[in-house]
Structures are given as C-alpha cells and as structure tokens.
C-alpha cells in the first residue's frame, strides 16, 4: 500500500524576504520606495515649516487679482485690469502658438535638409551638412538673440514707413517689414462671410474626396486621371464665385501709415519677438530633425530603392512612394521628442520679450506678486501637461504608421 503524501507545503518565513530570490527583489523595491517617500515627505515638511517660520503661506488667491501690467501680443481679450489667471492664459496661448508654428516649419525644414543631405549632388549635400552642423551645435538661446538682434539692426525702423512722404513705402501697398515686426493685411469679416468660408471648407473636403477617388480608380482599373489642376479648380473656383455673389463680404484691413506718429496702425502685426523666436526654434530644431530623417532613410534597406528603380520609378517617386513611408517608422519616435523640445525651448522667449507663459506667469506675475513657489508649480504643471499631451497625440500617429505585423 502506498500512501501519497503531498510535498510538505512551504510556509512563508520572514527570513525568505532576504534569502529567497523570489522575494528578494520585491523587498528591495519596497525599501527603495519607502525611502523615496520619506525623502519627499521630509522635503515637503521642511518647506512648509520654513515657509510658516518666514510668515509665508502657499495660496493661489493671487490668480484672481488684477495683473496690473500690459502684454504686447494677446490672442484673447486682455488689459492691465484683467486677472493674473487671464495673463497666464494669454501666455499659454502664446506658447502654444509659437510651438505649433515652430513644429510645422521645423518639420518641413528638417525633412528637406535630411533628404538633401543624402543627395548625390556634392554641393547640395555639403551645404546641408554645414547647415546641420552649425545649427545643431550652437545653443538655441544664442540663435534667438542673434536673429532678433539682426532683425532690429537690419530692418528699417517703423517710423520710416510713416507720414505723407515716407522713406520706405509699403510693398504692394499692403506689407511693411520693420524692425518691430511684419505688418500684413488683416481680413475683415463682413456679414455673409460665413457662407464663403463654409463653401471653401466644403471645397477642401471635395478636393480630398476627388484625390481619393483618383487613387482608387488608378489602383482598381489602372486609369490615371489628372490630379493637379482639377484639385486647384475645385479648391478655389466655388469659393471665388460665392465671394462675388455675396457682394465681396471679406475685406482687407491694410496697415495705415498716416494714423499714428509712432507706429503703423491697422492690419495684422506679426511682432519681431515672435518672428525671431519662431525662426530660431525652427532652424535649430530643423537641424536635429534633418538628422532623424537622414537616419530614417538610411535605415530603409538599399534593396528597396534598387527594386523600386528596377520597376522604372523615377528617383523622386522612389523617395516619396517607397523610401519615405518606410522611413517614417524610424523617424516618428525621435520626432516626438523634437516637438517636445520646441515646446520646452519656447520658454526662452523672454530673451526677446515674447510674452509666453514663462514670461507672464513665471516672470512678471511671479515678480509682482512674489508668489515664486506657486507660480513655478503652475508652470511645471503646464509644461508637464502639454508635453504629455503632445507625446500622447504623436504616439497615436506612431501606432498608425508603424509596421503592422500579421
């Protein structure tokens, strides 16, 4: 007769936390976590007691108080009696504006430079190497200041455009390039302009639909319809017709040299600080993106290019249809961090007097209210939120273009 006994059940002993490899890792992690919590609690408590000792407190009440200062570029209604929270909002929008513009131009620049750096043309590829190496290896703050200084020193003063008989006249009667910024005509939305805009938006949708249709037709039947001029036709003709039918509801507000003795009035002013910051961030980050693009292209196996050429595709088609789509998979992840860099580097705006969030909330508001800890906490929260949002969005796009394995 055999009796089957269960193997003795191993009971948990305290010493196993150290001696048993199954538990040891967990033990050390728990200890590390505990130490971290204690350290932060100590720092936090120290901060609170010291603040209390100095008679200071943490309070966000200042956000509701009038800011008292003016800002030179505001995308929303703002005056010196608006609250500090409003001033922060103005700063946030300015940060987002310059980051958005910077991301777009840096990407365009970067892709161009990256592709051209691999060009067979010796001169072009060397020029691009020079661009990349120069801009990548000089700090962006220096570029911002250089560009701003050159702008203010080289461009004509605003006053040279003013008066009955100015030194400089407006380009086409519409554009002025001064050391305080560029003035362009601003659209004036009259009654009925909504219809024109709606028609234009519908035209954009129709253009996209038409291009999809031609692609589909090409793939299913091999018939190739022209794409260039019909697209342009669909895009502009209906909107122009409606514009005249509605009695030209959209007018232009031109910069007026006679309205004021100091500055041009009217039109849309793109301030010199915005231009300098935008341009500097674009060319600086563009150089990094160029390297990402080059790396991405080199990562596509040469066989792909050769196969495409063997099929009779021309070099630019090989690039657009075969190489770049595959290279994107390599390019996108580092591109995300370049976008984050642009957003974070835009905090250097104060060097040229651009009113971003660091300049308003983290600069003037902080100084005038003396609420350093609160302002810096809010700044950290803002940059964290915006950076995580950008990477979330770009990760979604990355998923969409990444290699789908079946």
């Amino acid at each position: 007769m055999t009796t089957l006994t269960d193997p003795p059940r191993e009971s948990f002993r305290l010493s196993m936390l150290l001696n048993d490899t199954r538990y040891r890792a967990l033990t050390f992690q728990a200890i590390a976590l505990l130490a971290l919590i204690v350290a932060f609690a100590y720092l936090g408590r120290n901060l609170m007691t010291n603040l209390a000792e100095a008679g200071l407190n943490i309070s966000f009440g200042f956000l509701g108080a009038p800011a008292g200062y003016d800002i030179n570029q505001t995308l929303v209604e703002y005056n010196s009696q608006s609250t500090n929270a409003r001033a922060a909002l103005v700063g946030i929008l300015n940060t987002l504006l310059v980051s958005f513009l910077g991301c777009i131009t840096a990407t365009v620049l970067g892709v161009f430079a990256g592709v051209l750096r691999l060009s067979n043309n010796w001169l072009v590829s060397k020029l691009m190497s020079v661009y990349v190496e120069i801009f990548r290896n000089i700090p962006v703050l220096i570029w911002i200041i250089i560009i701003f200084t050159i702008m203010t020193a080289v461009m004509p003063g605003a006053r040279s455009y003013l008066g009955e008989d100015p030194e400089n006249s407006l380009l086409l009667g519409m554009f002025a390039f001064t050391n305080r910024g560029i003035y362009i005509p601003a659209p004036v939305w009259g009654p009925g302009s909504g219809v024109v805009v709606a028609v234009f938006l519908a035209s954009i949708a129709a253009t996209i639909a038409y291009r999809r249709y031609t692609t589909k037709l090409l793939y299913s039947t091999g018939q190739m319809l022209p794409r260039g001029w019909p697209s342009l036709l669909i895009l502009f003709v209906p909107a122009i017709i409606v514009f005249f039918i509605m009695g030209q509801p959209i007018g232009l507000d031109l910069p007026d040299p006679l309205a004021n003795r100091f500055n041009l009035r009217g039109g849309l002013q793109i301030g010199a600080p915005l231009i300098a910051l935008w341009f500097a961030l674009s060319i600086y980050t563009g150089a990094f993106i160029a390297e990402n693009v080059r790396a991405g292209i080199l990562a596509v196996s040469k066989g792909q290019t050769e196969a495409a050429s063997a099929l009779g595709l021309r070099p630019n088609r090989v690039m657009n249809l075969v190489v770049l789509p595959q290279a994107l998979r390599v390019i996108i992840p580092p591109l995300i961090s370049q976008y984050l860099n642009i957003t974070k580097n835009s905090s250097l705006a104060i060097a040229v007097g651009y009113a971003d969030i660091t300049a308003t909330l983290g600069g003037i508001t902080l100084n005038q209210t003396g609420r350093a800890i609160e302002c810096v906490l809010l700044l950290m929260l803002f940059y964290l939120t915006i950076s995580l949002s950008i990477s979330a969005i770009m990760n979604v796009y990355n998923k969409a273009v990444s290699l789908k394995e079946r």
Binding site: E53, G55, T152, N263, G363
Partner: protein, 338 residues
C-alpha cells in the same frame, strides 16, 4: 530665469532654518565678506569700471556697511541681480542686503517680507524719447512702443498712466538696462521708461546724449533704498543706521577730509556720538565704537557719494533736488543719533 526662481524657492525652503539659527551679522563676520546685491550695470549707481572694480552710488552704500562691519570697505562680494532675480536672491540668503535702486512699496514690505531700511534716493518714473520725434509731453505718446524693464514697479505705473490717460501703447519687456538701451537705440522702441535717475544715467552713456530728451512728466513716486530680509532686526538696524550715519554726517559737516580731525573730539556731542568718542552707540549695534567713522571714511558722507557718482559734475549730472538735506529744502532727514 525659471531655474533661478525655482532654485531660489528651494533654497528659501531649505536654508531659512539655517539663517534663523545664526544672525546675519555673525554670518558676515565669519565669512569675512559682505554679499551685496546690486544692479547688473547702471552707470553711476552700480557698474564695474575699466578695472573691474564696482563703482557707484548704491555700491558705496554696500562699501560703507562692509567698512562698519568688517573694517574693510573692499570686503564686498557684489552680486549682480536683475529686476526679476533680486528678491529671490535676498529671500534665499544668497545676499545679505540689496542695494539696487529698489522702490519701497507696501507689498514688498508686508507681503514679500522685506525690510526697507531707509531711502537713499528719492526718484520718480520718467520717459526718454529721441529728440527728433518732437514729443514734448508723455500724453502725446499714444500708440508708441515702450521699452520697459520687466519685474519692476515701473511696469505697473506705466500701465496705470496710459490707462488713466486713455491712450494706448505697446510694451516691450526687457530684462536688463543694457538690453533696453540697445533696443531703444536700434529703434525697436520709441520710448524708454524707468526711474528718472536711471534714464539720466543711461543717457549719459549714449554717443550723443543731446539727441535724446527726458519728458517733463514724472508719473510716480519711487523712493529707492537698501533692503534686508524680515526677521533679523539687528542686521536691519545696522544697515539702517549706517545709511543714517552717512546722511547725518553730511548734515553735521563731517566729510572724509575732516573726519580725522573731528574724531579727536569736538564740542558737538552728536558728532562725537557718531564718531564714537562719546557714548556707546556702536556697542548697541554689536559693533565697536568706530563703526560709523569707518563707514563715512569709506566713500565720504552722503553728499560726497552723491557728488562723485551721480552729481552735477559727473556725466550723469543729476541735481540734488528732492535728495538735498531737509535743512536745504530736500527730503533727506536722518533720525537723531542718541
């Protein structure tokens, strides 16, 4: 700047306890150097000369304090601060005192927890414009682009002035006086506004000062003075009475020329008390008897410091005006040494 503020805040958090333990006076004596916050460069008030030596009206206040405390007017570590970084630097203990043409206001005193020890220059905010603009009053500045040092009271006064006169302007916020000067000369702004004394000092450095005019409007009261942290009253007293000693010295006719002679003893008991030959005022401050004598010897009395750095004989050419002694129609009035 974000970093400066952040680390400043952190150091407030971590160092405040340490600062409370030892008094500022003991810290300074142990260190053998006075850390004095000054401007990043405003000729006449605080700027390094060709040899890298800091010179100026505010600098001499620092030197006087160093002479009183450390018996050496050169034992000063000058810390250049911008309008934005100065308060964090003082609150965190990075500097022992701030002498950087800083306006005494209610909220800086009560909310930021600083102690203004007195006024060494009564100032007001003015405007400078190029002469060829033909502007004769600040009220004609509608639509102008204005350069302004960010983080200062002038920024708020400017907004109030244009708002109350119902005219518009475009601000160009700038970090330091040097940058503002460059922007103004390049024509990136039509007007530069800051304290009238600062405007005069800035204009003096221009290639052609006569091509620029100061407008007659003075739109604010700007009492400028040295300040220390709340919470160390002994140190505050020391800086306050050093400044008062300089002012009283001028009133009582003590100059760097005759101070040796006077400290042998005079018939005026107040002079004797200041110079330490009578009474024990120095002891009450925790110093020796000759503290004020050394302070005055460092750069002369208030009038001498004024004349050498910013007076009418200098390129800056400021008249005494409000900054004359009360006996001569000015506002300078030191409490008695008793």
């Amino acid at each position: 700047m974000k970093n400066t503020a952040f680390f400043g805040a952190l150091t407030v958090a971590t160092l405040a306890a340490g600062a409370a333990a030892a008094s500022t006076l003991e810290d300074v004596q142990a260190r053998g150097k006075l850390n004095c916050g000054v401007s990043t460069g405003l000729v006449g008030f605080a700027a390094p000369d060709a040899n890298g030596e800091w010179q100026g009206f505010d600098v001499d206040v620092c030197r006087a304090v160093a002479a009183a405390v450390l018996n050496d007017p050169t034992a000063v570590e000058f810390v250049p601060t911008t309008g934005k970084t100065r308060f964090t630097a003082l609150a965190s203990g990075e500097i022992d005192m701030l002498a950087r043409n800083t306006t005494w206001t209610f909220s800086r005193d009560a909310d930021l927890k600083f102690e203004f020890v007195g006024v060494n220059y009564y100032d007001g905010q003015g405007f400078m414009v190029p002469k060829d603009l033909g502007v004769s009053s600040a009220k004609e500045l509608d639509g102008a682009t204005v350069c302004i040092q960010t983080g200062t009271t002038t920024e708020l006064n400017l907004a109030d002035f244009f708002r109350s006169n119902n005219i518009s302007y475009e601000p160009v916020p700038i970090e330091t006086n040097a940058e503002a000067q460059q922007q103004y000369l390049a024509g990136a702004c039509d007007v530069y506004t800051t304290d009238a004394s600062g405007l005069a000092a800035t204009r003096a450095t221009f290639e052609d000062p006569s091509a620029h005019v100061l407008l007659p409007e003075i739109i604010s009261k700007e009492p400028l003075g040295p300040l220390v942290r709340h919470g160390d009253n002994e140190w505050g007293d020391l800086v306050r009475w050093t400044l008062n000693a300089l002012i009283s010295a001028e009133e009582l006719g003590i100059t760097s020329a005759n101070i040796g002679e006077l400290s042998a003893g005079t018939n005026n008991p107040e002079v004797n008390r200041i110079l330490g030959t009578e009474g024990a005022l120095g002891e009450m401050l925790g110093l020796d008897a000759e503290w004020a004598k050394r302070a005055i010897e460092a750069g002369g009395n208030y009038g001498e410091i004024f004349a050498v750095n910013i007076g009418e004989a200098t390129p800056i050419g400021l008249a005494r005006g409000l900054n004359a002694q009360w006996t001569e129609g000015g506002l300078l009035y030191s409490p008695p040494f008793r």
